[in-house]
């Protein structure tokens, strides 16, 4: 498919359309950030700033512990807040957490819920505009990464990527950097697959037992049980 790069101020659609990362003026829709436009008129941002929405799953780092709750750094200008009354466990400074955004208001205060602490590992930044490419269609990219690097990997909407310490971390960092560079190209999963085979010599890693990401879609009841333990 033919893709061209559009810059802020380029017309991307006739009429006033509600498209993310675009704005409307005088019966036209214009790009607000650098993005790609294919010949069917789909506009996808290449760079943007993450803006929080309710029900987004985000990964954060606990930066402050207070009696009322925890302050969480979310790879953006505002910090998130976990009210202590929502919690059945204690967090400590520097913990990685996976949570859902419960409330956002117009001045940018963010309340988080459904908190889960992530095991030891590493959190790296990834551009939030390119997160869908890192996950892949039906998580194909993540499954591929786990197959070769072992361990577990989780991606938040805010662009933080958590990698378990059991994974082949240097390999993952290299591949994630590559995905970041080639995010707008098609056939990315095949390219990454070839790259992983070359790097590892085709050797697949052992899957992790009971990976945290497998529990991501469990219901709230089960999660609460886990907290009680």
């Amino acid at each position: 498919m033919d893709k061209k790069i559009v810059l802020p101020g380029d017309r991307i659609a006739e009429g006033r359309m509600n498209i993310p990362n675009a704005y409307t003026k005088d019966n036209g829709t214009y790009a607000a950030v650098v993005g790609t436009l294919d010949n069917e008129g789909h506009y996808i941002a290449l760079e943007n700033k993450y803006r929080p929405f309710v029900d987004d799953v985000v990964i954060g780092i606990v930066i402050s512990v207070r009696s009322a709750g925890y302050e969480v750094e979310l790879n953006m200008s505002n910090t998130g807040f976990i009210p202590a009354r929502m919690m059945r466990m204690d967090l400590s400074l520097g913990d990685f957490v996976l949570c859902k955004i419960k409330m956002v208001n117009e001045v940018g205060d963010i309340d988080l819920g459904e908190v889960r602490r992530l095991p030891k590992g590493k959190v790296v930044q990834f551009p939030s505009a390119k997160v869908p490419r890192l996950i892949g269609r039906k998580s194909s990219m993540l499954i591929l990464l786990k197959e070769y690097a072992g361990g577990d990997i989780m991606v938040g909407n805010n662009g933080y990527v958590w990698i378990s310490e059991k994974s082949n971390v240097p390999l993952l960092l290299k591949v994630i950097k590559h995905i970041e560079k080639k995010a707008h190209k098609s056939g990315l999963t095949d390219e990454v697959s070839a790259m992983l085979q070359k790097e590892t010599g085709g050797k697949k890693a052992l899957p992790m037992e009971n990976p945290p990401s497998a529990q991501m879609n469990r219901g709230m009841e089960e999660q609460e049980e886990e907290y009680r333990r």
Partner: protein, 247 residues
């Protein structure tokens, strides 16, 4: 130089550096040269070399500067002490750099869609490494590219060029000598899509007709500059990085 009143800036259709009246100096733009910044750009425009880095939107410090309605734009233009032959021997804020920071900030305050980021600030740092006249216009051109690279939503791209008068001729893209010894220097910044004037200053005097001609020249020159900006950004996003960058 005051003793040498006979210096001619425009002889036989040629300028002091050999250009024609409506010829620009060579422009080279590079994107993504500072890995740690959210967005960055480098511009080489004749003898000017300027680095621009953009950070944010991030927490606003000091807090009393913050607005609950929109992000505020902070711009710091600085000419390095070694940037040119005279005057700028000291680093730090001066009358000149404070003025330039303000006019460049106002260009981008009009372009950035800042309502989406309340209580934050967007920092634009501009460092002039080497100066040869027209640094404010080159800075605006580079900062627009750096902001696009940072993914900050903008209504439009902007580019700027200085046009002036020397020896009675209107000249495009003034160099240092034409700026210092000419009759007028008029930097113009125009948005790309609707050609709105975002910066217009005038040093010296021009007649009404001359101003009209200046704006006309600026429109065609800014179109060419926008192509350079677009090429630089497209090249960067094709490769996803800028590895072979050289100062």
């Amino acid at each position: 130089m005051a003793a040498n009143e006979e210096v001619k800036l425009f002889v036989n259709g040629k300028r002091i550096d050999g250009r024609g009246a409506d010829e620009m100096r060579a422009v080279r733009i590079e994107v993504g040269i500072i890995p740690e910044a959210d967005g960055s750009a480098f511009i080489e425009w004749g003898g000017n070399k300027i680095v621009c880095g953009v950070y944010g939107p991030r927490e606003c410090i000091p807090k009393h500067d913050a607005s609950p309605y929109h992000a505020i734009v902070k711009c710091r233009y600085m000419m390095s002490p070694f940037a040119s032959a005279e005057e700028h021997s000291k680093s730090g804020p001066s009358r000149r750099s404070t003025e330039l920071s303000k006019v460049i900030r106002e260009v981008f305050e009009n372009l950035i869609i800042s309502e989406k980021f309340p209580n934050t600030q967007i920092d634009v740092y501009i460092d002039v490494l080497q100066a040869e006249g027209g640094t404010r216009t080159a800075s605006v051109t580079a900062a627009a590219v750096a902001l696009a690279n940072a993914g900050i939503p903008m209504k439009d791209m902007v580019s700027a060029v200085a046009i002036g008068k020397a020896d009675g001729h209107i000249l495009l893209d003034l160099g240092k000598l034409e700026d210092n010894f000419g009759e007028s220097d008029t930097p113009v910044a125009l948005s790309n899509r609707d050609k709105k004037i975002l910066l217009l200053q005038m040093d010296g005097l021009l007649t009404k007709d001359e101003i009209k001609k200046v704006i006309e020249m600026a429109e065609s020159a800014c179109g060419k500059l926008h192509e350079k900006q677009a090429d630089a950004l497209k090249k960067f996003y094709e490769h996803g990085e800028n590895e072979e960058f050289k100062l």
